[in-house]
Every structure is written in structure tokens, then in C-alpha cells.
Symmetry: C2
Subunit: 341 residues, 2 copies
């Protein structure tokens, strides 16, 4: 029965005006501290619940952010983004914001249909998770609502995105392998499938360049076709001593292939992953990998959106968040190195 208690009800009970209640409950000036305390007490006692919608209407803010995930992503990627959503949700809570998930269907993406939460003003801004079509991105540019892309970028300018430092992560990982005596290092991934893989490959390549190790095309091993469908991994004729995989799942698959071919990890060759996803601990031995700092990425994305809300012209461009190498057992110093040196 304590539903629909309004500020006016509290005001009537205490014989003051609803303005005073508003001020007291919002800790604003203009109410004696005694009255303030009393009002808060009575409000709690009456089971008062603040009506966000009234405030929203006044201010034109919903205190909600839309989290958009394109639906066409399959299982694994999905749960990665869902975990992001969870982190975002926690971060938003700290700002008194809530997150509304919108799964963008392939059809809506194709037809450039905007989320209902936009057309019904349910959110103040959007965080887009993952890759969406160029034309949809362009369409999003036209709406009057701040947007931050998370874990995705295109060559389109004027876009603010928060990204894993793919390049630097793999660069560091490759450096680490080289420091451990490895010279014959393969990269597993199709550089034409996604820009993430491309950047990871380039980080690998930079490390080779810096160490004057020539890039061997036989050591760039495809794991999927350009549409992203996984294909069987084929080992090169001359075996590398280490593999840098574009993600943990691929590392998992690679290790199965290696085992089937009689190679032992890490004795015969080392394997490094990326993401520190569930696959990193399902392999035997567990993977040395690069941990994506999803928490920091979430924090930054929410911060950007909220700042853009106050200052719509603010531009951030691409922000790269560095991940750390997680050391497990799938990487070992190259034996020849140990003995030889």
C-alpha cells in the first residue's frame, strides 16, 4: 500500500511545500538541516521512491545508456561482449546511470533501423560493442546522441572508440618470445578477416623487424577464411619453435592440431594466445596470453560518453588500452638457446 507516495504526500504530512521536500531529498541548499533530516526520515518511513521519469522529463535526460551488441556474432564473442556489458553496468551504476542492452538484429543492421531505445528517448547515449557495418556506422553519425565504440574501429573518422591495444599486446608478446630465444615464430590468423587480427599481426611483424628477423610467409598461418569461418589449421613444413595466435580459442585449436601431429607444448614448441578468455585455461598446459583490460576499457568508455553528454563536440578519436601478459605454461625458453648460449 505504500505505492505512489509522492513528494507532495510527504509535504502534506509535514505541513511544508513540495519544493522543500525536493531540496531536502536532493541535499540542496535552502533547508535547515533539522528539517532535512526529518524529511528524509519521513520519506523512508512512508516508503517514498523517487520518480526518475519526472526528473527525466524536466532535464531531458534518461540516466540510461544503450549498449548495442550486433546479433550476428557467434557464441564465444558473444559472451565476451556480454561480460563487457556486465562491467559497463557496474561502472555506470557509479554514475547513477543504468544500461539497457539492445541486440541489433542483422535485419535492422541491414535496413539501418535505429534501436527503439533511441527513437523513444530511453537512453542518453550509446556504447556500441563490436563490429557493425559501415553504412550503419554512418547512419549512427547522423543522430543527435553521443556514441562511443568499444572494441571496434573503422577508417571512418569522427568516431570515438575505445580499443584493446592489439598491436602493442602482440608486439610485447613476440618480444617476450624472442627474449626467450625463439627465432622461428609463426603467427596464426587471417589478416584479412578483421582489423583486430590485422593489428595483432602488425605487432608481431614490428617485433620481427626490430629484431631483424625476416618475415616468413610460411609462418603466417590461416585460421579462418575472410568471412571469419574457421578452417583447419595446417602446420608449415618446417616447424616453428613458437606460435603467436591471434586469440586463445585459436591457440586451443592449434594445440589440438599440434598434439595430433605428435608435438608437445611447450617442450617441442611454445604457444601464445590473446584475450585471456576461458580457452586460456582449458588448454593443457594453460596458455601464456595477453589479458584484455576489459575493466579499464569499460571505465574509459563510460567516462567518454558522459563527458560527451555535457560537451557534445568533444572528440576522443581512438583510445588504446594496454593489456598485460599473463604468464602460464605454454611458453618456454627455446632449448637450443639454453644449451647453445
Amino acid at each position: 500500500m505504500k505505492s505512489h507516495v509522492t513528494m507532495r504526500d510527504i509535504a502534506d504530512r509535514l505541513g511544508v511545500s513540495s519544493v522543500t521536500i525536493s531540496k531536502a531529498l536532493n541535499d540542496k541548499e535552502g533547508v535547515s538541516s533539522e528539517l532535512k533530516e526529518k524529511i528524509k526520515l519521513v520519506a523512508a518511513e512512508m516508503g517514498y521512491r523517487f520518480n526518475t521519469h519526472a526528473k527525466s522529463m524536466k532535464e531531458g535526460l534518461s540516466y540510461n545508456l544503450g549498449i548495442v551488441i550486433p546479433e550476428r556474432f557467434a557464441g564465444t564473442v558473444h559472451s565476451f561482449y556480454l561480460q563487457f556489458y556486465q562491467l559497463l553496468s557496474k561502472v555506470m551504476d557509479g554514475y547513477h546511470y543504468s544500461g539497457i542492452l539492445h541486440m541489433l538484429s542483422e535485419e535492422d543492421e541491414e535496413r539501418l533501423v535505429l534501436p527503439r531505445i533511441y527513437t523513444e528517448r530511453k537512453v542518453d547515449g550509446f556504447i556500441i560493442l563490436g563490429q557493425i557495418s559501415k553504412s550503419y556506422v554512418e547512419h549512427l553519425q547522423t543522430i543527435d546522441c553521443p556514441i562511443v565504440f568499444l572494441d571496434f574501429y573503422t577508417d571512418q573518422n569522427e568516431i570515438d572508440s575505445v580499443l584493446t591495444d592489439n598491436f602493442f599486446g602482440v608486439y610485447e608478446m613476440t618480444n617476450y618470445l624472442i627474449r626467450n630465444g625463439h627465432q622461428k615464430i609463426a603467427f596464426v590468423g587471417n589478416v584479412h578477416a578483421t582489423s583486430s587480427i590485422q593489428d595483432r599481426f602488425l605487432g608481431y611483424y614490428k617485433s620481427l623487424l626490430e629484431h631483424k628477423i625476416e618475415l616468413n610467409q610460411d609462418y603466417v598461418i590461416k585460421d579462418r577464411d575472410e568471412a571469419g569461418r574457421y578452417i583447419d589449421i595446417v602446420l608449415p613444413d618446417e616447424m616453428p619453435t613458437a606460435f603467436v595466435c591471434n586469440n586463445d580459442e585459436i591457440a586451443y585449436n592449434l594445440m589440438t592440431v599440434l598434439q595430433n601431429n605428435g608435438y608437445k607444448v611447450p617442450e617441442d614448441c611454445s604457444v601464445a594466445g590473446f584475450d585471456n578468455s576461458i580457452f586460456a585455461t582449458l588448454t593443457n598446459p594453460p596458455l601464456t596470453t595477453v589479458e584484455v583490460d576489459t575493466e579499464e576499457m569499460s571505465r574509459v568508455a563510460v567516462k567518454f560518453i558522459l563527458e560527451k553528454l555535457n560537451n557534445p563536440d568533444k572528440k576522443y578519436g581512438r583510445t588504446f588500452i594496454k593489456g598485460d601478459i599473463i604468464h602460464r605454461e605454454s611458453v618456454q625458453p627455446y632449448k637450443g638457446h639454453k644449451k647453445g648460449s
Copy 2:
């Protein structure tokens, strides 16, 4: 620049009243169809966006539902619930509802702090995912807001919950094993850890009872302690010919143990899982398991909440949603059976 277009703006442009705009845009009676069409056209042209908050204030409905996930659940379970959230989100969309995720922190659960989305009237009801403390459930009973529990129940009455049919699922699975000639069937799981495991165990037991197979306590194998922490699985002295695991992850772990002990699946013994989670396809061979019908569960949960919104006194009690057996390679007919009969 097309922000803040209101119904009044459209009305002024067309020289009619905002009431007429409201009626036209909501497809209500009382506007000629020509005017209606024209209004819709002009609204689109002006970039009009409906303001949900105004409607919410009028009606006292937010058109949002809160999805609560207790934070203390670990990785796997988490992503299971996050997938649920995703499905719920899709279902809600069909009703013009949106979902707001609230991660319930351990601290808030302990101190009985209600989600901010409740105290700020941001949602019309709650769907609670997974297990929460008894006292929190009791606390939730006192609020004036419909609640449906998903994948959780207690002995507390007056609670509406939508559940996997754990009992029936494992019952059917065990029947299936028995039909395939297995007699020495073990159950893997600690019946004192969660009520789900308990129900799954009882389904197993019922099948044994029906087939006059005596329950062998050596064949009830612990996989975790009562607090839910996984422990090493110890095989019984006399090996069963089949194992019914309380979930796929445990089946995965069990298969590792079996392999380490030189047993081959399914040649030496069959293994059945539950959930059809990611683990079901990570095992080698892949798992025969029970698929939880998360889509149907989501559909039912949302339907219940929305009906309770119109009729707060409606009670549903426990609703069990049946899952199907997914046949893969980890289960094989018992050899002795084939030969012997």
C-alpha cells in the same frame, strides 16, 4: 538540430492541436486517416522522437524490466545468465519493453539493499536470475513490484519461478542410459550444494527406482564441497559403465580424470552431461547432454511478469520447462548388453 521536436511542434506546423498528434501517432481513433498519414509523415520528416518519460509519468509505467544477477556467481555460471539476459532482452523487445541489468553485489545482498533501479522507479518489475539469499528473497517479497525468479527456487512460498526441469531431464537421461543396457550408473554431483543438483540427483534416483536398480552410495560421486568449490573427482573402486554428471563442466572434468586413469569414453564408459553449455562440445568425444530450453524459459518469464503487472495478485508458483536430450558421442550402448542379449 532536430533534437527536442515535440508533438506540439508538429501540431504548430500543421495547424492542429497536440491532442490530434498524440492520437495519430498512437494510431488511436478520432483522426481522419488522411490527417493521420500526413502527421506521421511530418513527424518523420521533422525527426520527431517519442518521449517515453512523459508517457511513463502519466501511466506510472517505465516500460523497463530489471534483470538482477547476483554478483558472486563465478565465470561459467555468469555467462550462462548473461545469455539468458540476452534472450530476455529480445523477448522484451517484442512487448516494447527494455531490460536493465543490475548486478547485485554481495554487499548489497548481505545488507538487503534494493537495486537503485527499484528505488528510482526505473523498472516495472524484476526478473531475478539465479540463487540469492533467503533473507534477500524475503525482503523482495515486501516490495510493491512484480517479481519472477528464473532458474532458482526455494521452499519459500508465494514465489513465482521459471525453472529447468532438472528432475525430469536427468530422469529421462538415466532412462536413456538404462535403455542402452547400462546398469552400473553413477551420478556425479554434491546433492547438498544446490537445489538444482539435488533435483537432478532425484531424477537419476527415480529412474533407478523405476528400473529396480539399487542406489549404490559409492556411485554418488562428489564434485564440489557444499559451498560449491570444485574438488577432485575420485573414481569409485568398482567402475560404473556410465556416469550422469550434474552439468557439462563437471562432465568435462570427469572425462579428464577418466583419461588420466586410462579409461576411454565411450568405449569403456559412457558420460552424460547437463546444460548443453560450451563444455559439451569441448570434450572429446562431444557430450550427450540435456539442453536447457533457455528461450522458452525467457519467453515464459517475461510473459509472467507482464501479466502480473496487470494483475498483481496472480500467482504462478513453480513452472518447469522441459529440456531435450542432445545426442552426441559420449554415450554408447553397454557392450556386455549388445553381446549378451
